[in-house]
């Protein structure tokens, strides 16, 4: 059953991918969605058995690479952490599959799309069930590849291609760090199996690494390298630039990959490697700072964006920041808790946005929407639920997880913890603000769309709404239901050994003992944010324009996403182009080609002709060659000596 849950998506992907022509569009949809749904059911059972039943499993598939001390097996590891991830991935993915049946119904390449989606899910599951770093890397690269394919799914659009390449290249930077980290781990521990390295980690707490004459704390170095990998995948500050552009892909892709699953792989990795990170406090500090900064940064940018999907994309970026700083203050379970609830409400928001886009005839700009809430009431309601959960309004999912994170940051009682706390509070105001900005601009006020589009606005078909409803249930209840297990009374029994926190510290308990104002503050600021948005966009709609004009510098700065893209373009892209051009024209063309390939090639051709002409076809030539060979070798021995 365990292996089945993982491999069913692969089966679906292969059937739809290679048999797409035979199956037809409908067949491909049924096969992939069917496989995914079964897998989701299995995912629920796995969560029940492993998480609630407290019964971790490992499934050995077969041995993979065996070279000296370097031993890698294909093994599926199911502990609670994995089970939670498997549950989230399979459930969200199956919903997205079903949704895509409706959303992509007019696309000419349905089997390809469904196959990619399933293939992605398989890699994601490989990633979360990995038993060693290499297998995790396999899944890691696999989801990267699928992400590339899916962002560039509409390959006729140049922006989609550019976005796909950008996602791939930026991720490469992170993956390089990850790969270096894996090598470093092997160097240190002589193994990359989780079991072995976790067992050996306490013994290496004080080890150091020599590199180019520097002496560095080994585990800190390794953890930072691994964290760079996580930053790339989870779009943290510095390596975040690909995520907004990735919105060029179809909306279901954004919901699945760029909200619920792949981008959270980094958080998962940090939680999975908690036994390493716990012994590297400096690395944890870095994680906290990066997470908190990203959290605020992305929220500020989201204020000014006008593309509905980009707003949600920056919101994702910001929420990932929350998760990271939760891990940074050792509250891994809070991070994973937020990851789970976030998967539901953010997928809901994306798919809801997709529903809006579907209704508005592929319009994504919020400035050309408005006043449509009566026309698509179900979508409207669902967007409200998603936004309430996102803003952390009590009793919705986000309330439990986000507040827990903010309290944990405060409870950590360190200077970085306080930094993260205040960043989180400010980001919470902004989150509430941009969420309602989105709702108001999209649904309320005067409609700014043209006649033709407006006449065409319609509620989405059932096949799209039902997944939304399922996710909405998750967005409402997952926090309330999950709290007891993720962070409440059953916490220790639930997590078992899958998450490691240094003995003697308990960030969750600390989070529960914070003063009352810390608990109420996030709720208050969320309400303030909503009120501000209402005031600015509903009551006084000309206020934002005035503000933008008044603080033009700040507005431009935010609108251009803090000029990150321009900075990278100036620092890396253009110099790389220049360097590449020079190397190509002068270095490669003149020097290397002249002496290397071209020179060698012409020499090889010449020699090849000579050699081929020796093959005369006469038997006695051949026999003669053999005799000369023997005579030559014998002579060699007699003249040079027999070596021994």
């Amino acid at each position: 059953m365990y292996a089945l849950a993982i491999f069913l998506p692969l089966v679906g992907a292969i059937l739809a991918g290679f048999g797409g022509r035979a199956l037809g569009d409908r067949g491909a949809q049924i096969v992939t969605s069917g496989c995914m749904l079964i897998s989701a059911v299995l995912g629920c059972i796995i969560l029940a058995e492993v998480g609630l039943g407290g019964n971790p499993q490992t499934v050995e598939l077969f041995s993979w690479i065996n070279s000296g001390a370097f031993e890698v097996n294909w093994t599926l590891r199911f502990d609670t952490l994995t089970a939670v991830m498997v549950f989230v991935v399979t459930v969200v993915s199956s919903m997205v599959h079903v949704y895509s049946i409706g959303y992509m119904s007019h696309d000419p390449h349905i089997p390809r799309f469904m196959s990619y989606l399933s293939f992605f899910t398989f890699f994601m599951l490989m990633l979360v069930t990995a038993d060693n770093l290499l297998q995790m890397f396999f899944g890691w690269e696999g989801v990267g590849l699928c992400s590339y394919l899916l962002i560039g799914f509409w390959y006729e659009k140049p922006e989609a291609n550019a976005a796909a390449i950008k996602a791939f290249v930026v991720n490469r930077v992170g993956d390089f760090g990850f790969a270096l980290g894996i090598m470093g781990v092997f160097l240190m521990f002589n193994s990359i199996s989780f079991e072995t390295i976790f067992a050996a980690a306490p013994g290496k707490a004080d080890a150091t690494i020599q590199f180019l004459g520097f002496e560095a704390h080994a585990l800190t170095t390794l953890c930072i390298l691994l964290f760079i990998g996580a930053m790339g995948k989870s779009a943290q500050l510095g390596l975040h630039t690909w995520l907004p552009d990735a919105m060029e892909g179809p909306t279901p892709v954004s919901a699945l990959i760029h909200a619920a699953t792949m981008v959270t792989a980094g958080v998962f990795m940090v939680a999975r490697l908690s036994p390493l990170f716990e012994y590297a406090p400096d690395a944890l500090t870095l994680v906290t700072i990066v997470g908190a900064t990203t959290c605020l940064f992305a929220a500020t940018v989201a204020l000014t964006q006008t593309d509905i999907k980009r707003v949600i994309a920056y919101s994702t970026c910001s929420q990932l920041g929350y998760m990271f700083f939760a891990c940074g203050v050792s509250a891994y379970s809070a991070g994973i808790f937020h990851l789970t609830t976030h998967a539901f409400f953010k997928a809901l928001l994306f798919l809801g946005a997709g529903s809006v886009i579907h209704a508005m005839s592929s319009e994504q700009d919020m400035r050309r929407m408005g006043g449509i809430w009566k026309m698509i009431p179900v979508t409207y309601t669902l967007m409200w639920i998603g936004s309430l959960a996102l803003a952390g309004i009590p009793f919705f999912a986000g309330f439990y997880s986000k507040d827990l994170i903010i309290e944990a940051a405060f409870g950590a009682n360190t200077s970085v913890g306080m930094y993260a706390f205040w960043m989180g509070i400010i980001a919470a105001i902004l989150t509430a603000f941009y969420s309602w900005r989105l709702i108001i601009m999209t649904f309320h006020g005067e409609s700014r769309a043209d006649e033709k589009t407006l006449a065409h606005v319609h509620e989405s078909p059932k096949v799209m709404l039902i997944p939304l409803l399922v996710l909405a249930v998750g967005a409402i209840f997952s926090g309330f239901v999950g709290y007891a297990y993720f962070a409440g009374d059953n916490m220790n029994a639930f997590w078992g050994d899958s998450i490691f926190v240094l003995p003697g510290t308990d960030p969750i308990a600390a989070a529960k003992q914070v003063p009352a104002w810390v608990i109420t503050l996030p709720i208050v600021v969320a309400v303030v944010g909503i009120g501000a948005a209402y005031y600015a966009y509903m009551a006084k709609p000309d206020l934002p324009g005035l503000l933008a004009e008044r603080f033009q510098g700040t507005y431009k700065f935010l609108l251009n996403k803090w000029y990150f893209d321009e900075l990278y373009d100036f620092l890396f892209v253009r110099p790389a182009h220049r360097l590449g051009r020079n190397l190509w024209k002068d270095g490669d063309g003149a020097v290397i080609d002249g002496l290397g390939p071209d020179g060698v090639a012409s020499a090889a051709r010449y020699l090849a002709q000579k050699v081929a002409s020796m093959q005369s076809g006469y038997v006695y030539h051949y026999a003669f060659a053999m005799l000369i060979g023997v005579a030559g070798i014998v002579t060699w021995y007699l003249v040079v000596g027999s070596g021994g």
Partner: protein, 204 residues
């Protein structure tokens, strides 16, 4: 001992000379005849070593069967051997050079010929003294026991040679007359003889 030495050198010299003639004679029939001469002398060398069984086999099989078969083939085929040998002179210098180098080297090695003193004791099946038994008997004793594996394998090789010869040459031609003994024997008087009454003076 002297007699043995003289015989050895005589046989050896004739063998080598005959071998040279085999490849240098213009007339292929002469070549085959020289080959037979070489075989005879080689047989003589075997006798000198006390291996009379192999000597006899050499004469019977190689001279009696193989070489005579060669002779038939050479005489029956119309091959212009002079034409075949045209390349000979062209490659003679380099061929001779390689041959000489190899020969010199082998002589050098054989010059250092040294049989380790215990070589004979390592032999898998030591040759029994000639006074005890004939070597036909001795070979028979080991060939079907200790060397049964090699013997059987060699038998398979001959089987393959036979299959190969048949595969590559046997053709089933149409219209070939064959003797069918059972049909011949099974013929009755009624099918083969017909009695006719012929009027005198008229033909059949």
């Amino acid at each position: 001992m002297i007699l043995q030495a003289i015989s050895f050198y005589a046989f050896a010299a004739v063998t080598v000379a005959a071998a040279v003639m085999v490849i240098s004679a213009r007339n292929p029939v002469h070549s085959v005849l020289f080959l037979i001469l070489a075989f005879f002398n080689a047989a003589g060398l075997f006798v000198l070593m006390g291996a009379e069984f192999i000597a006899m086999i050499l004469v019977i099989v190689y001279v009696g069967a193989v070489a005579v078969l060669f002779l038939f083939v050479v005489m029956m085929l119309d091959i212009n051997f002079v034409e075949l040998r045209q390349g000979f002179l062209q490659y003679l210098p380099i061929g001779a050079l390689v041959g000489l180098v190899l020969l010199a080297e082998l002589v050098l090695i054989l010059g250092s010929w040294a049989i380790a003193p215990d070589t004979a004791s390592r032999a898998a099946a030591p040759t029994p003294a000639i006074t005890e038994t004939t070597n036909t008997h001795a070979i028979g004793q080991v060939l079907y026991t200790d060397y049964i594996y090699l013997f059987q394998a060699a038998g398979l090789i001959l089987l393959i040679a036979m299959i190969g010869a048949i595969v590559l040459t046997l053709r089933s031609r149409e219209g070939v007359k064959r003797q069918r003994i059972s049909d011949q024997v099974g013929r009755t008087r009624e099918e083969s003889v017909e009695v006719r009454h012929v009027e005198p003076g008229s033909g059949v």
